[in-house]
């Protein structure tokens, strides 16, 4: 038996090894300390230290900061101020106002957009702005090797573009596309300096971005900081931009606070002057601290919501979906998780800040257990086998709820579970870690409710969720009439027609019980009372940094 083999071995010569190991350990510690020291002593460009500087806490480290390539809304927070776009949307009226284009016209058939560009505009690197520069940016966005994740999709039925003359730019479409100007007003269409683009590659441009905006990019160190400083020559901004004064903010250092719990602490410790997406519990604490205030920014788009799977028992039955909408005490969910003062309840597929939102949705589905029970009774739902779980045609009502583990979805889902158990439903919660996992689940169809929402001012973006052929039609609902409305609403540019169509669309979605809306999205921004003038762009996420002034420098 091998176990009994001899175990006598030569003694290890520790006498020789020990000093060597000791020397090695000391050397390693010394190197580590030196490295840490170097990192700690590194500070942000000292030559700019006399500039009026604030620190802005970002809540996400995007996969990249190139607006033509990457898709995160977070990248627009600094870049909305680095670039100008051809047009802008007024934050209050949602009307389109002049950006780099003074005026524009749309051809009779809605296929050709002609932009008359501003003269006397220069990029931060001194390159003059003209129609050729615009064409270079569009060349880049449509080039397949750029791999645009967002801008290209926003262009819709794009057919071509050309510089007509030095200050006239033309964009051609293959069919009418109402959301085009809204798309062009977003930072994903920031016009970049052709010189800077020529000197960099698709991989390196994000570190050396040059636009025409009120701030110029200083540096980006991934995971550490993104720094921008004021462009002193800027005088071609949109009408709602404040003019430069002695107390205007001159430099903004963006830092990353991905863990929600760290944001309030960073704010109160003075590490940041401004931080977004505070958890409601922390925002509530900030309200009691007189050195800070909470700015609530309504984000247009979809509310926090769950899509019902109309192809899986029991949510394949419209009566069950409607009963669930009545049975759910959404007010209690919203009040508990988000607190009453930060909580616009959601009623339909669009949040109240979205264009063409129909307030008539607010009267649908008030919380009523009675109505839910009446529907259950008429549908023949009862506990037929005495196990305290309701059954429909002998099958237990079991709901599988799928969601990602952030954005307070776990809390909301747990409260839904608590409420639905009460009325005799069995609930299974599935918490996922990533969007990829969520997408996989959505495509498998193995769920009754799945939580997801996207953002945008122009509701055209909801097509991919509700068109029968939409790539994210997770409800699996198919209705030719709804399809027709959705398509027509993105083709016609007439505002009244669009309003009517979107009202019909919102009503149909709710009457069919395709979603369970919970709460309109609000960005809770904590800001030091030292700063004034905080305004966000129409799309909600992007601050107008040039309007920020310091009360007491």
């Amino acid at each position: 038996m091998s176990l009994l083999r001899s175990r006598s071995r030569g003694r290890t010569r520790w006498g020789l090894w020990l000093p060597l190991v000791g020397v090695f350990a000391c050397a390693l510690s010394a190197i580590s300390l030196a490295v840490i020291g170097t990192i700690m002593s590194e500070s942000v460009d000292e030559e700019d230290d006399d500039l009026l500087t604030i620190t802005y806490g970002l809540t996400l480290l995007p996969s990249g900061f190139d607006p033509h390539i990457h898709r995160s809304a977070e990248l627009g927070i600094p870049l909305h101020s680095v670039y100008d776009t051809l047009v802008y949307r007024h934050p209050e009226t949602l009307e389109f106002v002049a950006g780099l284009a003074d005026e524009w016209e749309v051809s009779e058939n809605g296929l050709i957009y002609t932009f008359r560009l501003k003269e006397g505009v220069f990029f931060h690197d001194g390159t003059p702005f003209n129609a050729d520069a615009v064409a270079v940016t569009f060349d880049r966005i449509i080039a397949p090797e750029t791999g645009s994740q967002k801008a290209l999709a926003l262009l819709g039925p794009y057919a071509g573009h050309r510089a007509v003359d030095a200050y006239t730019f033309e964009l051609q479409l293959s069919e009418p596309y109402a959301p085009l100007l809204d798309a062009l007003s977003q930072p994903y269409f920031g016009i970049a300096s052709p010189t800077a683009l020529a000197n960099t590659t698709n991989a390196t441009y994000q570190y050396h971005q040059v636009g025409t905006g009120p701030f110029e990019m200083v540096e980006y160190i991934p995971g550490d900081r993104f720094v921008i400083k004021r462009n002193p020559d800027y005088n071609w901004g949109p009408v709602y931009l404040a003019s430069y004064t002695d107390t205007s903010v001159e430099r903004v250092i963006f830092r990353f606070y991905e863990l929600p719990e760290t944001r309030r602490i960073a704010l109160e410790a003075g590490d940041v002057d401004l931080v977004g997406e505070l958890p409601p519990t922390d925002a509530d604490l900030i309200l009691r601290n007189q050195d800070f205030r909470i700015h609530q920014e309504l984000i247009p788009g979809q509310p926090l919501q769950f899509f019902f799977n109309t192809a899986k028992f029991p949510t394949d039955d419209i009566r069950i979906r409607q009963a669930l909408l009545y049975a759910t005490n959404r007010e209690a969910v919203v009040g508990t998780v988000f607190f009453d003062q930060f909580s616009p309840m959601a009623y339909g597929p669009l949040s109240a800040a979205t264009q063409f939102y129909d307030p008539a949705m607010q009267t649908l589905y008030p919380h009523s257990l009675e109505r839910a029970n009446t529907i259950f009774e008429s549908a023949g739902v009862e506990d037929s086998d005495g196990d305290n779980i309701l059954d429909l045609n002998g099958e237990p009502l079991r709901l599988k709820v799928v969601f990602m583990g952030f954005g307070f979805l776990p809390e909301v889902s747990q409260l839904l579970e608590s409420q639905w158990r009460e009325i005799g439903l069995e609930v299974e919660l599935v918490q996922l870690g990533s969007f990829a996992d969520l997408r996989e689940y959505a495509e498998s169809g193995d769920f009754n409710l799945i939580a997801f929402n996207d953002f945008g001012v122009d509701p055209a973006f909801i097509n991919r969720f509700y068109l029968s052929s939409g790539d994210s039609n997770w409800t699996r609902f198919s209705d030719p009439e709804l399809d027709g409305w959705l398509i027509e609403a993105t083709r016609t540019t007439d505002l009244e027609t669009r309003q009517e169509l979107y009202s019909a669309i919102q009503r149909r979605i709710m009457e069919q019980g395709l979603i369970l809306p919970i709460r309109d999205y609000v960005n809770l921004v904590g800001i030091t009372t030292r700063l004034d003038g905080l305004i966000y762009a129409a799309h909600g996420w992007w601050p107008l940094l040039s309007n920020l002034v310091v009360d007491s420098p």
Binding site: R7, E261, Q414
Partner: protein
């Protein structure tokens, strides 16, 4: 042979099993039921330890959560001991090829940090108590196998083994009557340590959001959920954390008792 007179051998196990079995009796509320408008309350006659962020009874969640956490610990320890002993045994007493294969396997497993291993296994599987325990158990297989090898070898080098062999005891008899009983105190003692680790790993995974169903009462999940309101209601983290520490301490007492030299 082991003697079970010292209370350290059995008392911690009895307490933990008692908690697991009696939890439904001492819980005062449904641990999943949330009462709107009664969030973050302090202790009261109705809610002995107050309520959590969603208005659920903390006491009920603690005791029922202990049930889940401790059951998970036992399951994971079972997996680690079962496979670990087998691997360790193969690596010590098997034929040459089996010995080498088992050793390579153990070394390969040891090369991964335990928590990373648990994370990988857990990410690959759907979240439930069993898969969570499996993930944690797998992480402790290699250490347990290593200890098994060392305990068997130490026991085999004792002089009385040579004595038994010299009076003609069979290989099988030497192994089952002398070597294995000699290694048992070490193995049992380390099993308690693995049990303590398992619960800590389980809590760590739950804290990272990998504990499966978020509404399941579980100490790790409770700690993770209490983290957001640490300043307003520190008890939501301190209570489950304290219970977890206490359980780990009980397991360590067991480990101590098992590793004591045996008096006859």
């Amino acid at each position: 042979m082991l003697s079970f007179q010292h209370p350290g051998y059995w008392l911690p196990a009895v307490i933990l099993l008692g908690l697991v079995l009696l939890a439904p009796l001492v819980a005062t509320h449904d641990p999943i039921h949330a009462t709107p408008g009664r969030e973050l309350e302090g202790p009261s006659a109705d809610h002995w330890l107050g309520t959590d962020r969603l208005g659920r009874d903390v006491w009920s969640r603690l005791v029922i959560g202990g049930r889940r956490t401790i059951t998970g610990g036992f399951l994971a320890t079972g997996i680690a001991i079962g496979i670990g002993t087998m691997l360790g045994g193969f690596a010590t007493v098997g034929p040459y090829l089996m010995r080498e294969t088992a050793t390579v396997l153990i070394d390969a497993l040891l090369a991964f940090p335990a928590i990373l291993l648990a994370l990988v296994v857990r990410t690959a599987l759907e979240g439930s108590l069993v898969t969570l325990s499996l993930a944690i158990g797998v992480a402790s297989i290699a250490p347990y196998a290593r200890v098994t090898i060392s305990a068997l070898n130490t026991a085999a080098l004792q002089p009385h083994i040579e004595g038994a062999q010299s009076i003609g005891a069979s290989q099988w008899r030497v192994l089952t009557r002398h070597i294995v009983p000699g290694a048992l105190p070490t193995l049992l003692s380390f099993a308690s340590v693995v049990f303590a680790w398992s619960m800590l790993y389980g809590a760590a995974l739950a804290f990272l959001g990998l504990g499966g169903n978020p509404s399941a009462p579980d100490w790790g999940i409770m700690i993770a959920q209490g983290r957001g309101v640490l300043t307003q209601a520190p008890q939501l983290v301190l209570l489950p954390g304290g219970f977890l520490a206490l359980t780990v301490w009980l397991a360590e007492i067991s480990a101590d008792a098992f590793s004591r030299p045996i008096r006859r």
